[in-house]
Amino acid sequence: MRAPRLRTAAAVCAVAALALAAAGCASKRDQETTSNKPEKLVFGVAGDPKTLDPALASDGESFRVARQVYETLVQPEPGTAKIVPGLATEFKPDSTGLVWTFKLKQGVKFHDGTDFNGESVCFNFNRWYNWKGMLQSQDVSSYWQDIWGGFAKNEDPKLGPSLFKSCTVKDASTVEIAITKVTSKFPAALALPSFSISSPKALQEFKADEVGGTADSLTYPEYAMKHPTGTGPYKFVEWDRPNKVVKLTRNDAYNGTKAKIKDLYFQTISDLDARKQALRAGSIQGYDLVAPQDVKVLKGEGFNVLTRPAFNILYLAINQSGNPALAKLEVRQAIAYALDRKSIVDSKYPEGSTVAINFHPSSLEGYNDAVTKYDYDVNKAKTLLAQAGYANGLTLRFGYPTEVTRPYMPDPKGIFELMKTNLEAAGIKIEPVALKWTPDYLNKMTTGKDHDIHLLGWTGDYGDAYNFIGTFFDRQKDEWGFNNPTLFAKFAEADKEADLQKRYALYKELNKMLLDFLPGVPVAHGPPSLVLAKNVGGVKASPLTDERYYTAEYTG
């Protein structure tokens, strides 16, 4: 009785195995016919976009889609952070620097067939400026508030005056944008995807400003979820939210070089190893945020790894308002001399990373090589500590984040361990404060006085040094805990300087002042990488992650 049953079981298993294998083979055949086609490119990304209306967005994945679908008046030059013409062929200020004239490209059409012209530019600016209600929430119009300040009618007294004054159509191809004060943000920040020009017809038709729900529970309007309409080289097809993919297709009416690959997909694969395996298996043809340790491996396997010029910084922040020792310059200098930043960069960062000398990358105007550099010198660190009255040592709480990596901070714990060893060698005892990145770490390190030193960084939004150093140091902040009116006044002077060369000279001066005052220690610039399949090329890596895929092509 038993033998036949065993044979039956074995036969069932064999049939099941054969069916599975056959299914597998069939799947492979399917893949061969559906992927590797030169008309489709699937790019793996780490997260979903939050919205398809770039005016409401502040996250990288929303911007990635926007950069293919929309265009801005000015844009970053491919591969650099320098501003060049976009939808505006030329732009210049008047003698006061308060009125800017933009000459617009002719013959450009939105994806819905309507014309791009001066009217549409002003429609967009007036739309943003006149936002009301929930659209004035920091969470919704984040970049407008960061760059332009307030609105036509501020509903929260904490919102400041608006930088925007007016937009005037001079003729079909010329607009004048007036601002209320000269600032380093303008016009550089116009390259941000948040200030992309949308079709006025689509904005109205799909009720782009009708945010639903209540203030504590709002929903994005139809335009922001289903109908993004710009002038870019790709048109929106579908956001398949359950399957986590955004589908775009070539805009055949694009006013410029047409996309070489017809269909472009951004598929969310949040796990880094899963993205790597999907690339190796051929189900995606590229992905972003390559792990530093994978750069060499993937290059070795023949994949096209594109490393972006580093446009970020990791710094060690020093809070002067908590521990009294940190208010002493000698102690801050001792910390800087104690850190072997070169070893940290060599061991924890990918190829192409550099030790930071200023608090912004060297590619930005205003960079100053003639600042105090604080090369690693443990003896000098000990001497300075002794001079400050801490010859017998000093104890500091050192904060670092967990459950996160950033291009400027690829291994927070590893970097912390190396710094801890460095600082303890100089006689500074370290009490680790390891906190979850969000919400605990960011909250703790940027508010109150109860923190000594910590790791944090920044990735630039647009190509102006003020976006780095001004963001960190142009006013009193809990993160740093100092009040330096001279420094703040110099920042204000630089920000309102209309003459670019004079402004850059002020940035240089500020960089010198910062490295003398030493509110923190600049540590490293780490270049992030993306990777494309072996037979895909044509994409230019951008320091601002401003990659445009219409130039992508299959090479074999």
Binding site: D30, D216, S217, T219, T438
Partner: protein
Amino acid sequence: MFRFVVRRLLQLIPVLLGLSLLLFVWLHRLPGGPETALLGERGTPETRAMVRKQLGLDQPILVQYGRFMKRMLTGDLGNSIDTKQPVMQEFLDRFPGTVELTITAMIFAIGIGIPLGYLAARRRASWLDNMSVAGSLVAVCVPIFFLGYLVKQLLAVNLGWFPPAGRQDVTISATHVTNFYVVDGILTGEWDAAWDAIMHLVLPGLTLASIPLAIIVRITRASVLEVLGEDYVRTARAKGLTERRIRGRHILRNAMLPIITVMGLLTGGLLSGAVLTETVFAFTGIGQFVRQSISNLDYPVLMGFIMIIALIYVLVNLVVDVSYGLIDPRVRVR
């Protein structure tokens, strides 16, 4: 039976009310808030305070709970703070994926586990028994993410038999009606899409099945061994019943009660989201989304999802309780 079901459903009300209050207070007592995740490094103490105010998080907790309950009672779970989409819509977008994955895993676990456990018990101390016991121990011990990685590396990357990630090839133009992709493919006659969805289920299903499979093998083996020694089995055999009848009617049926209990618990557990498996295979179910929501402290999503999952869990166990009576007439649900 009907009164039993109604009573169990009524018992749900205080359970869900108590759970919601406990959960609400606990979540809102956690340090930080969703504003930090929303604004990231760009947030300042001032902007974070503005967002907290806008979200109503600066109000007393009971006021916030009252607002939540008011919405709940009208069937509105609120909107995600992070994605700005209705929580129910987020759930409906993702839950079908988790259900498909759970069903696949349970098909593997039950389809292999019960026969294997039965055969192991019938051939106690044989090589098959030893292998199944050792195998189930290994399956429980190997971490899911590691097993998933290995399975994917071998069968997707090296051999190319199965797709490595996702629920469906994103380049397929499939019509989605119910968001159950296999069902949608069948309903619309898009057989390629249905087949592709099935292929995408195999590897995560196998990986997710590893632990339930091991548990079912062990429970089945133990349960069958116990029943095999019962007098009624010996009597049945002495009466001259066929082995097939003894196996089906007397052994398996009596051994099934503990197995069904475990299957109910396992299914309930899997339905609440297989975070690791979904992450490794970029499978778009609720597990990944809940994990993200925990990181972001997206209160409406966490509250809404947990309430729905609690409801599902209780219903699955109710089905299990009811099925006892169908399997074993001696058990009467009252």
